[in-house]
Symmetry: C2
Subunit: 498 residues, 2 copies
């Protein structure tokens, strides 16, 4: 008996999924285990795996199989959604000529390498030639994908990270937020100034003890160490596969809070991956939906849950016991204050929950203008500084702390930035709906019982994988599309009205 077209295409994508999982483990190995001298051989291994996947995906048989499978009348909804996601992958892979993909990949690698030196040297001018080449090729890719996908060039890039994302929607949402944000920041800072400054928790905090704390919290929250690991890397990330989730952090012996919050953030990502439906493992429909929903899961845990006063009531005794400390600095209330300090700051990755969206809106606006050509790379530093003044209220003294700070653009990643703040908003909206649906969620957190929350997330987010669009998942879970007012209400409640 011959396999049906659907069965054939599912087998092909299952193999692609298995190769993707293998790459994900190798990527983790790169960041956590590999000696430096292994880099060239690893790059070769990864390039070959990339090439094989590209060939499997762009094979001449794929479009016919997709069409024939779509014509089958014996498919269920998940299978139809799987075909839709396969077609999306195939469209992206075939939209751009191979030589353009290769040129862009090389230009991005070269520019990223140059950026690693240019940033500490504050040398934007020196980076400009490489950066121009990256932008030129990214524009070409955007135009090619736009034509194929029937989208604007920016939305075609955005679609790589945020399937079906729309800059029209983002413009509206970010426009609303940008109007209220400067006032919100002012108000949060005024409210903060009315309270005594929180007491510092004095170090040192040995790395081993910080790890013990991290593991205790992760286990309590529901991370299963039989299906995952916690390691150290220079840049924290969540990687691996749904059955073997590998998160990383870095520890600062003077300040345990940064490493701990990093772990909690990555644990949110990890539990999303772990909660994806095992039945659809390695199939496109079984993958996480997109970057904004992924970020919503890390931010829901880190920001909504773990920076709440309730969470600190549960966590404070664990911190006191494990670090062997006591005194007023280690009260839940004081720790909560420390973890919710607001400040106008220059660096996005160090920004607090209130000012963070301003950093993102700036980057979103700039990258759109760069892509259309309304803004030139020569004018980027000045535009950056103007935007920082308007949105955050401070101006970087140099490009190192300005437009050179993030790797994304120099690595060719345009269209990624908005997902951070879409994720923060989605997190607020999901957590709000979850609490209203299940009254045991909020009191559970203060007692260290996260089961009700994750039961809700499994059903409403994790288990849906890519069965629906991000917008559909949000609407099904919360009763309405993404609404920036809910996020604003959260900020007001925590930072202004409390």
């Amino acid at each position: 008996m011959t396999a049906t077209p659907y069965a054939q295409i599912q087998t092909r994508f299952g193999r692609l999924g298995a190769l993707g999982e293998a790459q994900s483990i190798l990527h983790w190995d790169n960041a956590t285990q590999m000696p430096d001298g292994g880099a060239d051989a690893r790059a070769e291994q990864m390039a070959v795996m990339e090439l094989i996947q590209h060939e499997m995906l762009t094979d001449a048989a794929v479009p016919d199989l997709l069409d024939a499978a779509s014509a089958q009348n014996d498919l269920d909804d998940w299978q139809r959604a799987n075909l839709r996601e396969m077609r999306r992958s195939w469209l992206h892979a075939t939209a751009v000529p191979a030589d353009l993909v290769e040129a862009s990949s090389k230009a991005s690698s070269a520019c990223e390498m140059a950026w690693r030196n240019a940033r500490p040297a504050n040398d934007y001018a020196g980076l400009l030639p490489a950066f121009k080449e990256v932008l030129r090729l990214t524009r070409e890719i955007a135009v090619a994908k736009a034509e194929r996908l029937g989208k604007t060039p920016y939305d075609a890039l955005l679609d790589q990270y945020e399937p079906d994302g729309s800059s029209e929607v983002i413009d509206r949402i970010f426009g609303t937020l940008a109007q209220s944000l400067p006032g919100l920041i002012d108000a949060a800072l005024s409210r903060q100034a009315q309270r005594p400054a929180p007491l510092a928790t004095e170090g040192p905090f040995p790395v081993e003890t910080q790890r013990v704390v991290a593991v205790k919290l992760m286990e309590q929250i529901g991370f299963d160490f039989d299906h995952g690991r916690l390691d150290i890397s220079h840049h924290p990330f969540s990687g691996g596969t749904p059955d073997d989730v590998r998160i990383t952090t870095r520890y600062d012996e003077d300040d345990f809070r940064r490493g701990m919050m990093g772990v909690l953030h990555e644990t949110g990502h990890a539990l999303y991956e772990r909660g994806l439906p095992a039945l659809w493992r390695r199939q496109p429909v079984g993958h996480a939906r997109g970057m904004s929903l992924h970020e919503s899961q890390s931010l829901l845990l880190e920001m909504q849950v773990c920076r709440s006063l309730a969470f600190h009531e549960f966590a404070a005794p664990i911190l006191r016991d494990t670090f062997g400390r006591s005194g007023p600095a280690w009260d839940a209330e004081n720790l909560y204050r420390l973890n919710t300090q607001v400040a106008r700051s220059l660096i996005r990755v160090d920004a607090d929950e209130v000012t963070y969206p301003a950093h993102v809106i700036l980057r979103y606006r700039l990258e759109r203008s760069l892509l259309t050509g309304d803004l030139t790379l020569e004018d980027l530093p000045a535009a950056w500084n103007d935007g920082m003044r308007d949105l955050v209220g401070i101006v970087p003294p140099d490009n190192r702390q300005g437009c050179l700070q993030d790797i994304h653009w120099f690595d060719g990643a345009f269209g990624y930035f908005p997902t951070y703040t879409l994720g923060a908003m989605t997190a607020a909206q999901l957590f709000d709906a979850a609490q209203r649906t299940d009254a045991s969620i909020a009191p559970g957190i203060a007692k260290g019982d996260f089961a009700p929350l994750f039961a809700w997330l499994r059903v409403n987010v994790h288990g849906k994988a890519s069965r629906f669009s991000t917008t559909e998942i949000i609407e099904q879970a919360t009763g309405k599309p993404l609404d920036p007012a809910i996020f604003e209400r959260h900020l007001r409640a925590r930072y202004i009205e409390a």
Copy 2:
């Protein structure tokens, strides 16, 4: 311009090589990092990578490309040797029908799983059905490969591990050794009995300190930690890739010598991989020659070098300083005696240098008889015990310590065992030739200077990769084919005449 057939086939095998490297890192991850819950997904990843490699290798285009490339008159000797090795891979891959490969792979997995329980339970009878199926399918594979390769069935299996290996040659060499070995063992034990027993080194030896010792010795010997790692696994091995060699060991807090000798053994494997010619990386001709030569490199370092009195003169002060010990037990001479104790024992992996070949010759003879059908699996335990009596001089009290002890056969690996002792003999012969060629090698070892030895090995073994056959490499390096008399002379010199 179209690529030549040679260039095309080299590209294809380069991709195969890159996938093989990726698999090797994933295998290391399996053994050292992966949480148990990741096993099923990892098996799926590995199976897909295996399948893709099989498809690339058995593709209909391969034989035509091999023929066309062989007809090119612009190839150098390395390229011709590369084609020869490609053809060997292709012959092995296409010799056996896919369904037989799959049946054998499944039967071996099932039998290996059953063996993990049957061994501790001493249940040979219970394992028999699964073991029979493995042997039946292995015979079928041997016959299929024999026909394709123009070899006997046993030699066709041997060729997988020891390219161009010949049981006719092994019969002769092992025959010579088997005649003298019982007498050698008797004489070594008598000589040992004349000396006072060496003093024990008393533990405990913390794992961390043992690791410090291991790293010091590895670095001194020439292991480059910029291109490799040392980790812990249940079964020590040398894995990874030539640019990123990953060796493992296990530590016993009561006895540092076992872990240390394990590290030195794996370091020998690692330095062979690391010394393979970078120009031929990921090509068949650039791979290590075969298992006997690989084992010769680990045994040359472990047995010839690191169990010598000279090495202990260098290592004893490091051991004393790092473990913080002193006294007569820690003299070079006493440590040397500890590391060269001889005993009739039941378990191959615990055997000393003198008795080890007897364990191997027994297995070699038995596996040949099993393959021809001259010995049935029902009669294996009795034949094992008879062989132990004749060759080693003791009889196992049960099958757990007898024919159930090694994983090889139960996992379908017939034809592997002889490479251990061929490796030990090759090690003796290479080390003998090296010392006669360069008079600075022997005094270097006592001073911790291993550079002269490895300079010789790089030129005469490592750098040749698979450019020549094992026999050719031995002849070029030592002036004659493998000669068991040199190994015997080494045993007599160290264990009987000293």
